[in-house]
Symmetry: C2
Subunit: 216 residues, 2 copies
DNA sequence: TGATTATGTTTACACCGTACACATATTATG
DNA sequence: CATAATATGTGTACGGTGTAAACATAATCA
């Protein structure tokens, strides 16, 4: 099949969507050897083209990285969205599940995390699509928090402040985990999921004395 | 002076502590052009030596980066320690001040942050001194939390869980800030310090409905 | 003083990002 | 259909990078 598809701009005419092949190759390099292992030339070789071919699809290396990061954001968004069980549960539980999903994503795809948040791509000068992808991922959490506030499950207040509290905490924990930068008493004392639930519990109930005891 | 100091092992005999000069040069490169701008050869040139000279002091590039990261940890530790005012204040306030100090450090020294937490150095196989430096920085916060728990200011519970909650949140916020990865409604709506205080307030008082209203 | 060690230089190699000129396949246009 | 324009890929080239090996020299030690 597909012998006669000259009208499809999605996969180009010679190689057959080299752009996508380069993103895939970049991902593989990234997963295998970390950020240091990602190079345009190696990606080109994996895709079976010359080392200069990528420049027909990406302005420079950073553009490739940005494309990979964008894909990573999409995956993260999907993971966060899938975390909410079909039967709508209590908001506190939904928040915990979403946090676990974030941390699990960080552990399952450390290469994506590095590319997205590792400072490889200059988010200020990056293509707008990447920024939008990031905002979309954040929007999933923000919506949950906003709904929780509207439903009275979360305290009234600035939604973005609350959402950012949760985002920062889970993001920080995920980064520390994927960097293996956790201080030793926490390294493997418990599973990442259990620790994530503890963190969320502390954020929900507060750590200051006088706050009501956490339920579960 | 210092014509006759053949007994000091701290600064070597030919160049005069090239190791330190290389760290300084690396820092400058890092501050000026980000991680991508840091190279052994450029550092050697800044130090006025040949491009192979660094290998007498660092096994490879990662060793230089690790040394820089270690210095960064020391600076961070000092900043955190200095955040506690000489007159011991309430634990909640001290925690907030420490969080602000962390975020200010992230904003003032983004290059250090990148090197320490940006995945440039493989913390698993890094020299032990780097790990100790990291644990020392974390220990400053942990001590504060432990003291707060002992004094009854913070809720009784696992100290490390609580400390990690705060560390993760502040670390995540600092990383997002220094990456300029904050979602747009938060980008510059308020100052980083004000937002940091809000985050800490949420962690202290909890965001779940039913928690007591935050005091301030 | 002579040997050893610490430190730095030179040379060399493979790899990298990227620019440029060129070739070719597709598409558009007369 | 013929041909021009465009999209895509190749080859070559240049400077920069990490790092290894051989060599040179300065400091220290026996």
């Amino acid at each position: 099949m597909a012998i006669r598809v000259p009208k499809k701009p999605a996969h180009a005419y010679q190689h057959g969507n080299l752009r996508h092949a380069l993103i895939q190759a970049g991902l593989r390099l990234l997963s295998e050897g970390g950020v240091a292992n990602l190079s345009l030339r190696a990606a080109a070789q994996l895709a079976g083209v010359s080392h200069a071919a990528p420049y027909r699809h990406f302005a420079d290396k950073e553009a490739l990285v940005a494309a990979i990061a964008e894909e990573g954001f999409a995956l993260l968004t999907a993971a966060l969205q899938a975390s909410t069980p079909p039967t709508p549960a209590a908001f506190a539980k939904r928040l915990a599940e979403m946090a676990v999903a974030y941390v699990n994503f960080a552990l399952a795809h450390p290469a994506y995390l590095r590319v997205i948040f590792g400072g490889v791509v200059d988010k200020e000068h990056a293509p707008q699509s990447l920024r939008i992808a990031g905002e979309t991922a954040y929007g999933v959490l923000r919506t949950l928090v906003a709904d929780g506030v509207a439903a009275g499950a979360f305290r009234a207040g600035d939604v973005d402040e609350m959402a950012l509290s949760c985002w920062s905490m889970v993001h920080g924990f995920g980064m520390l985990l994927s960097d293996r930068a956790l201080p030793p008493p926490l390294c493997e004392a418990v599973t990442a999921e259990a620790m994530t639930r503890s963190l969320v519990k502390h954020l929900l109930g507060g750590i200051e004395s006088g706050a009501p005891p956490t339920k579960s």
